[in-house]
Amino acid sequence: MNAPTNRVIVDPITRIEGHLRIEAETDAAGMITRASSAGTMVRGIEIILRGRDPRDAWAFAQRICGVCTLVHGIASVRAVEDALKYEIPANAQLIRNLMIAAQFVHDHVMHFYHLHALDWVDVVSALKADPKATSELAQSISGYAKSSPGYFSDVQKKLKGFVEGGQLGIFANGYWGHPAYKLPPEANLMAVAHYLDALAWQRNVAQLHAIFGGKNPHPNFVVGGVPCAISIHPGSNEPGASSGATSLNIVGLQKVQDIIHQMRDFVDQVYVPDTLAIAGFYKDWFKQGEGVGNFMTYGDFPEKGMADPASFLIPSGVILNRDLSTIHPVDLNAEDQIQEYVAHSWYDYKDGKNKGLHPYAGETELNYTGPKPPYAQLDVDQSYSWIKSPRWKGHAVEVGPLARVLMLYAKGHEQTKELVGMALKKLDLPVTALYSTLGRTAARTLESKVIVDAMQTWYDNLIANIKSGDVRTFNEKMWDPSQWPATAKGVGHMEAPRGGLAHWIVIKDGKIDNYQAVVPSTWNAGPRDAQGQEGPYEAALKGHQLHDPKQPIEILRTVHSFDPCIACAIHVTDPEGEELIKVKIR
């Protein structure tokens, strides 16, 4: 046992998706010596999926998360398509790319302004800002139109009324005035104004999903294509051919174009300049919060279909120990590569808690051994989380924006190299600054730029196909389960905003025999494994100096830099059925 230490517990971690608890042990000086990351909610969606129609799985899987609302739907239809060798039409691929890209940009902007910003932006300090100086600041970093003194004065007046009214609502009990807040009042006011602007912007750009998928959150998908028939009939005068019968008509497509412009403008004029401006005041956060130093991507945005990884915009691979010169290939089907461990998770394996299992052979037996609620503290030397610990060839790896930017950078992607170079030059930082809390946050911003810029080409290609008379969006060839093999298995992978995501499915007699999702926040938020290797959150928090353990803003900064999605991270597969589930409460 360790010597007695102080323990700082943060539960709930707010401004995330899901239920996350951090228990950090500190030395007498307030430095974190060991951190433990615990997911405290489980639903068992993979148990629920067993025995169902594989074509329905996307809808269940999608409800794993309503923030990254599209990703589990995509991973699920790709898993079924991989299992059945089911090809989708070119238009469906383009529409999926547009939807995934829209999810990325929407999600990243919302993360920055609505989930992460309040770790760096002191809302109360904004009241002291001079609107005219704020306007000058805003105009010095961007050509964004909303930058007049009157605009900032209106926002400030609104904020003042709100604060002086005495009902602080969502801003109640924030760590306002904490010395860790470094922005001048003008930068705080600018960020608060953009917090509000981003709320309005996200509402508009989410309409892209609604046009293709009928609604957002939780747009619809279909195995074999996309469920949005194109109601444009080029050159057709036949009776009954009514243009405009579905939302994917001339008006809808024009709206999609408008949204692509809105997304690009906001990224260029607000998100990128704000990130760099705010980061400039927090350079010490480019020196801490790295984590495990290993990074993995699965790759995404195919030009020519999932079977041709060479055509992916984002490549796949593993980087170990920051060595960008060697990219290790990832094989999602190889039994010895991706394995999940439960040494410190509330599950049992048949052959003992220390073994690792590949997702196709994944097994899970819920076995809660934590304290009976209400509890004050977890026993972090035993099991302490509903999240498992996935490992690549035994290594803890980080997934997400930093992993993707490093992969693009290492593989020589020109735009990424330029963007990284531009950001580092502006901030006067070395490349190694990327391996940090704010490096992760900046990587999220930079990859948004890469992705939003790619959207126009996919849109143009879609329009060109439609003009040439190709309006196919669905392949009915394998739709009928009677044509399926008796058994099949497949893996569907994607890059989700929070990192590499994959679903493994085993199909037997037309039904789901086994289903397993290993998601980005499982990789990042998982607990220590059998060897005692920490997960990326835990490793990243180690060494943080807490200014005031009662106001642990440092913990929030680094945890939020990963953009936790905890409902995603926790998953349950139980090959033997419900009766295996047992719970020990002590």
Binding site: T14, G169, A200
Partner: protein, 354 residues
């Protein structure tokens, strides 16, 4: 800290004109199908009082419900949380974490005891002492019971808190239940949907803020104004159903001409919700308009009613005597089916409410 302002004083202070405020109230009144005078009632009520305190508890959920609320166009989330309500505890949006967050909840409960509105998203796991979901070390069950005590009313937002939702789907590994399975002594309104339509969540909140009570509810505790009709009854593709014109795949001629999606498994005929009228995301579309059948996501147990692509067993027609029986190969049709469907709903409701 100062004594909290009334909303009227706060609006004056924040520079929002009565005219723009009335416009907002009119939009809300029209959405809720209230008479025009209600806009003035709403405006007066809102200006008299402090912003309504709202405590939002998130249990076994995916955050899709609060994400949905952020997509509301009229009113916007900004209007709601800065002008209409005081969102005193909400994990996704609130600045404070950990003990600071929990004390925000305790402060709000104390300050507005008996008056705050409690919103719940997510189901509550009851198996094994509730170990399957905790916040701040407290089981969801205990936190719900504790927080419900001082609530004026409770709104279950989403199918999970209304009916149990996906965690409740067979075999319900964690013993997930709805709010109404636990809380019996408070008015509870269900706003189902996976997620619910943003305007519906916003509309019922505005109603409560104005009148201090829940709107009229149906047999499943849903606000009648939004859940009186099936999606099928109000669907723009309904004429094709009546004519027997059905899409057979997701991109055939019928699909591209907007024909009925019944044969692709659309659950519109048995689903009570306002998607076909209010539509989604500022009215740009709704699932059927894009081209996928309705999943029935606002219905109890919709996860366990068979495949989403399996056509409903019997064509249902309230007011379509001339149905395309020939096209459907002589399957029995009639008005009885819809009645059966409503009864089926009631049965499920009873079962859910056990």
């Amino acid at each position: 800290m100062n004594e909290p302002d009334t909303l009227g004083a706060s609006l004056t202070r924040t520079g929002i004109s009565r005219r723009s405020f009335l416009k907002f109230c009119t939009a809300m009144a029209s959405l809720m199908a209230l008479p025009p005078s209600a806009a003035y009632a709403m405006a007066d009520a809102l200006q008299r009082t402090q912003r309504q305190s709202v405590i939002w508890l998130s249990f076994q959920e995916c955050t899709g419900c609060v994400e949905s609320l952020t997509r509301s166009f009229d009113p916007t989330l900004e209007q709601m949380i800065f002008e209409m309500i005081s969102l005193d505890y909400q994990h996704t949006l609130q600045a404070a974490s950990g003990t600071a967050a929990e004390s925000a909840r305790e402060q709000a409960m104390k300050a507005s005891y008996g008056k705050y509105l409690l919103i719940v998203d997510g189901s509550i796991p009851t198996k094994d002492g509730g170990v399957y979901s905790t916040v701040a070390g407290i089981s969801n069950y205990d936190m719900l019971v504790e927080t419900a005590k001082g609530a004026a009313a409770i709104v279950s937002v989403g199918t999970c808190s209304s009916y149990g939702g996906i965690p409740h789907a067979n075999p319900n590994p964690t013993g997930a239940v709805a709010v109404t399975d636990i809380i019996k002594d408070k008015p509870v309104m269900n706003v189902p949907g996976c997620p619910p339509i943003p305007s519906v969540i916003a509309g019922v909140l505005a109603y409560f803020v104005t009148y201090g009570k829940l709107p009229e509810l149906d047999h499943l505790n849903r606000p009648k104004v939004f859940f009186a009709d099936t999606i099928h009854d109000r669907c723009y593709r309904r004429p094709f159903y009546d004519q027997g014109k059905f899409a057979k795949t997701f991109d055939d001629e019928g699909a591209r001409n907007g024909w009925c999606l019944y044969e692709l498994g659309c659950k519109g005929p048995t689903t009570y919700n306002a998607c076909a009228t209010i539509k989604w995301n500022g009215g740009v579309s709704f699932p059927i308009e894009s081209g996928h059948g309705c999943l029935g996501c606002s219905e109890p147990n919709f996860w366990d009613k068979g495949s989403f692509y399996q056509p409903l067993p019997t064509p249902l027609a309230d007011n379509a005597p001339v149905i395309a029986a020939a096209t459907l190969g002589g399957i029995a049709v009639g008005t009885v089916a819809a009645v059966v469907s409503r009864k089926h709903q009631a049965d499920i409701g009873t079962k859910e409410g056990k």
